[in-house]
Symmetry: C2
């Protein structure tokens, strides 16, 4: 039985908050967010193939990746404002299908008892429309499926 | 008579929007935002001396600067998500006195008739408290004074 993803999109304010626990140590979960060879195994829904143009998960680094399925291609890019090992990251996020609509998201990596861990995220969007559009894109289902894939990656580390 | 700064901090949503016109071409205004030797002559209130650690105003670049006055020192840093010459920029912004509270701001540079230009900005904060704190810090007065200094820099270009 997998750990549930909790997602909240509060009314009237352009945030998305989420939380997910993992049956794996914080170091492993952080590594699966940092290492491009690992992240491409789990980020996003199963039906997408992920191609990484660049992925430099450190303070000041940049990233760009593509999700491909059924002949369609979706590109995403951003910069890492700060990355602290096994602890914290803030990055910008742009879906190139909506150019110049850029959100910022923080992620906290937290060690729990018994070798478990928790990730908490807070995304801030530049308009209510951008936040609502993200929610309506099926983002929660995609994240949930992605984190189930991450469970599988972590089980093999 | 200087062009007025319009600042709006709408109720209940963590944004700050602003707009300012300049009696100078958009290329000059953009250059005054890009060139570290120029930006240190105008960004912020007159009483501050500005020291630039790094300032790389291009897509993927970073910046860090300090404002000093009366023996006090205030440091700021961020990354540039995108910069398009004479047109547009998105950057992150962190006051190091409130670490990990990071906003994202877009700036649009627009040519007007008669060699004039307009800058429009939109800042998004990760909480209402962070937005309100920025407003209460006297940010509008500081921006207004900074843009008057920018008018002086532009007059000399």
């Amino acid at each position: 039985m997998s750990n549930p993803l909790k997602v909240e999109a509060p009314a009237g304010i352009p945030f998305i908050d989420w939380e997910r626990e993992f049956d794996a140590p914080v170091e492993a979960v952080f590594r699966a967010h940092k290492d491009p060879d690992l992240i491409k195994q789990w980020l996003g829904p199963r039906r997408y193939e992920m191609d990484i143009d660049s992925y430099d998960f450190r303070t000041g680094g940049r990233y760009r990746y593509l999700h491909r399925a059924d002949g369609e291609e979706y590109a995403f890019n951003g910069v890492f404002h700060v990355v602290r090992e096994n602890e914290f990251a803030i990055q910008t996020f742009e879906f190139e299908g909506f150019p110049d609509v850029v959100s910022i998201e923080s992620m906290t990596f937290e060690a729990l008892d018994d070798g478990r861990s928790r990730v908490r995220g807070h995304s801030t969007y530049p308009s209510m429309e951008a936040r609502d559009g993200m929610v309506e894109s099926g983002m929660e289902g995609g994240m949930s499926e992605g984190y189930e894939r991450l469970d599988e990656v972590l089980a093999e580390l």
